[in-house]
């Protein structure tokens, strides 16, 4: 059964509502102000998002959520991307919530209720090397009495320095296991890194960290049952954010082409620039289709969404990078200055390109599904 690739009326309304709120509460200058103050998170902004139902976008209404679904989460992420909004939305409301949704016990339900209320934030700790690969895990969780003892190091833990809880992927006797740990547990040391996109990411060392069976999300040795859907939801929402980012950078660039004058005319009159801008618009349009499709499949058949999600992430990664590179080039010298916002777009696009799998990773997934 094919899905309709048209935005429903309520999705258009959600986008408009989000745009209205974010233009006011979190324009790019908000990120700039945080960066200049040496901060990576605005708790008041997140509390406001929680009040609007965004923190609980994937939490059932019975647990205090708004239960709008994956396509709606993508709509919100896309609008956030347009003005580079920094928040725990992806890590907490999308990735952690999707993982917890797979469990269905009372403890998970309570955690989901706290997510929806904006009372707790999460970070996902998977990477151990410079490239995303959830199967390449050396961190261990050795059985110890009734529980486990975790040792290892995670890097590029997005939102990891400030999150209240950590979802940690570690190797157990027969496979990989996902743990839901208190970030302040004994033996956890968090090293906040200064990232190019001015957001929270940490290197985290685990030294004899104790966990009980109750800290395991899902089944021991079967992390992927829980993690795979969580990753897919996160990858799709990140792709949506990057499509929004591309659209934001593109809009700035087109505005600039219409007002900047050289040789006595607006530079937007030059065909050399017109065609590049038009090509970029095409790429943003095509990418939007892939995002819409991924959201639809996540909502209708989560288990069949893998290729659609990888397609969306690959395409969004490529388009966002094209948009910021063209953005800086078409702005010329001013695009290189810190005072101008385009640089923020470029730096976030690079981080978004790597997080949760880069272009090569996802193109390879697509190729595999297509029988390469």
């Amino acid at each position: 059964m094919s899905v309709k690739l048209v935005q429903a009326e309520e999705e258009v309304m959600l986008a408009d509502m989000a745009r209205g709120f974010l233009d006011d509460a979190a324009p790019v200058s908000h990120l700039r102000a945080l960066r200049d103050a040496g901060e990576t998170h605005d708790p008041a902004l997140w509390a406001e998002m929680a009040r609007m139902g965004w923190a609980g976008v994937l939490v059932l209404e019975a647990q205090g959520g708004s239960d709008m679904g994956y396509a709606a989460a993508n709509v919100i992420a896309q609008e956030m991307g347009k003005t580079l909004v920094t928040s725990p939305f992806l890590s907490t409301a999308v990735i952690a919530a999707t993982a917890l949704r797979q469990i269905g016990d009372a403890r998970a339900e309570a955690a989901l209720a706290r997510i929806a209320g904006g009372e707790v934030t999460y970070a996902l700790a998977v990477d151990e090397s410079a490239k995303f690969d959830p199967n390449k895990v050396e961190m261990t969780a050795e059985a110890d009495g009734n529980g486990f003892r975790l040792n290892g190091t995670k890097q590029f833990v997005v939102d990891g320095a400030l999150a209240d809880r950590l979802l940690v992927l570690a190797r157990t006797a027969e496979g990989l296991t996902l743990f839901d740990l208190d970030a302040g547990a004994a033996g956890v040391s968090r090293d906040a890194r200064a990232m190019i996109d001015a957001r929270d990411a940490a290197r985290i060392t685990f030294e004899d960290v104790e966990a009980t069976g109750a800290d395991v999300l899902g089944q021991v040795d079967h992390a992927m049952d829980v993690l795979r859907p969580a990753l897919q939801a996160g990858q799709a929402a990140l792709a949506a954010e990057m499509t929004g980012l591309a659209a934001g950078a593109f809009a700035m660039t087109v505005d600039y082409l219409k007002e900047r004058k050289q040789f006595g005319v607006e530079i937007g009159r030059f065909q050399a620039l017109q065609h590049r801008a038009a090509h970029l618009w095409c790429e943003v349009e095509v990418t939007s289709s892939a995002i819409l499709n991924a959201g639809r499949l996540l909502d209708s058949a989560l288990e069949d969404a893998a290729m659609a999600v990888s397609l969306a992430k690959a395409k969004a990664t490529q388009t966002a990078q094209l948009a910021v590179q063209e953005g800086v080039q078409m702005h010329g010298g001013i695009g290189m200055t810190d005072a101008y916002d385009m640089g923020f777009y470029m730096k976030r696009a690079r981080v978004g390109a790597e997080w949760l799998g880069d272009y090569s990773y996802h193109a390879e997934q697509v190729a595999r599904y297509r029988g390469f």
Binding site: L5, K258, G268, A290, A367
Partner: protein, 383 residues
């Protein structure tokens, strides 16, 4: 409503079972398997003739045209079911032609009732084959500068000039052509959309051999050709409106139809058959990239179709579909040529198809013209 649709599907399925010959169910859509129709048409098989006749009787050669003009009068929902059922059994198109694709839609939109009654049914029955007379040696991308001139001679025009890239003009019965009927007016406002009988004295046609070895296109010459005044679509000097309408239509068709359907087969599978296979890391990486782009493009076509169904027309975005669709098709064929190495250098379908794709981004408006349309009409950049 739903019950009516279910009935329609069931009846259609029964009808296809009874009337679509087995030979016509191979899903073939290559140049050789097309039934173009026309006065001189020679059917390639009895099955091809039977299939055409069966469809003509039901109006299924042009399913969405009104019944009085030779169609089946299907609404959008029925058309979707029709397309699905045709695709389900892999039935060939019973008839394809520029009459169906282009003149028909133009007449349905701009023609008088009498013109529709006169011209449309023979198109639907495959009795008259049309070709398109737009480009001229001096008017390619700058189409509105056509110089073929129709001098007013009272109850008719006397047409003189030359058209180029007239597809299958040597096999066509009639041509619809852009002819300048006012040399004083601004270039867009002095063109008329005329219908000309290719058998008229003074019409002469000559095939052009292309790099692929094929000659699907011709040059067509008009020397003192008399065209009666009633053989015009739309108003005198307003032919550009008709042409523009058709160009948008053509773009949607090129981007949405045959050329991208070839993209249905995964590129990896196609390349794996070549000698280079997928072991060539550079080729594999390029193929993966092309596959990603093609899948995203396919979703975009689907999105625009869904939007059209929801009443949101593609409008100028058809320029994007045409631009990206044709560029991707060229890329795909480049990769297939690379995969086949020297095997693909001997004349055969692969090199001929590869060479043919080079025209994709030229015909119906070049990629550069598409980008200019987007830049002006979508982005609002100054001209």
């Amino acid at each position: 409503m739903t019950d009516t649709m279910t009935d329609f599907r069931k009846d259609l399925r029964d009808w296809l079972e009874a009337y679509c010959p087995a030979e016509m169910r191979d899903g073939a859509a290559s140049e050789e398997t097309i039934c173009w129709g026309g006065k001189d048409w020679v059917f390639s098989s009895d099955a091809q003739r039977e299939w055409l006749n069966a469809c003509v009787a039901e109006g299924y050669t042009v399913p969405t045209w009104p019944k009085e003009y030779g169609g089946a009068g299907l609404n959008r929902d029925q058309q979707k079911i029709f397309d699905e059922e045709i695709a389900r059994i892999g039935a060939r198109f019973p008839l394809q032609s520029f009459g169906i694709w282009m003149l028909g839609p133009a007449l349905l939109h701009f023609g008088t009732h009498e013109q529709k009654l006169h011209y449309l049914p023979p198109i639907a029955r495959g009795e008259v084959r049309w070709c398109q007379g737009y480009s001229e040696p001096g008017a390619g991308s700058d189409l509105a500068s056509v110089q073929t001139f129709g001098a007013d001679a009272g109850d008719h025009w006397v047409v003189n000039g030359q058209k180029i890239w007239t597809s299958y003009a040597d096999k066509a019965d009639w041509i619809f052509a852009l002819v300048r009927t006012d040399r004083e007016a601004p270039k867009h406002k002095g063109i008329s959309f005329l219908l000309i009988d290719m058998n008229d004295p003074g019409v002469d046609t000559r095939p052009i051999k292309l790099i692929s070895g094929a000659s699907p296109f011709c040059e067509t010459f008009f020397t003192d050709v008399k065209v009666p005044k009633e053989q015009i679509v739309g108003d005198v000097n307003r032919g550009w409106d008709v042409a523009k309408y058709l160009l948008t239509h053509e773009r949607e068709m090129i981007s949405g139809s045959g050329m991208l359907q070839a993209g249905g087969r995964p590129l990896g599978a196609v390349l794996a058959e070549g000698d280079a296979g997928l072991e060539d890391a550079t080729l594999r990486a390029a193929a993966m990239r092309c596959e990603v782009d093609q899948l995203a493009m396919g979703l975009t076509l689907e999105r625009y179709r869904d939007m059209a169904e929801a009443g949101q027309g593609a409008g100028d975005a058809s320029a994007m579909l045409k631009y990206l669709g044709t560029e991707l098709n060229k890329q795909r064929h480049e990769l297939m040529m690379m995969a086949d190495g020297s095997d693909a250098l001997e004349w055969g379908d692969r090199p001929a198809d590869w060479l043919r794709t080079k025209a994709n981004s030229i015909e119906g408006g070049t990629s550069e013209v598409m980008l200019s349309i987007i830049s002006r009409r979508v982005l609002g950049l100054p001209a």
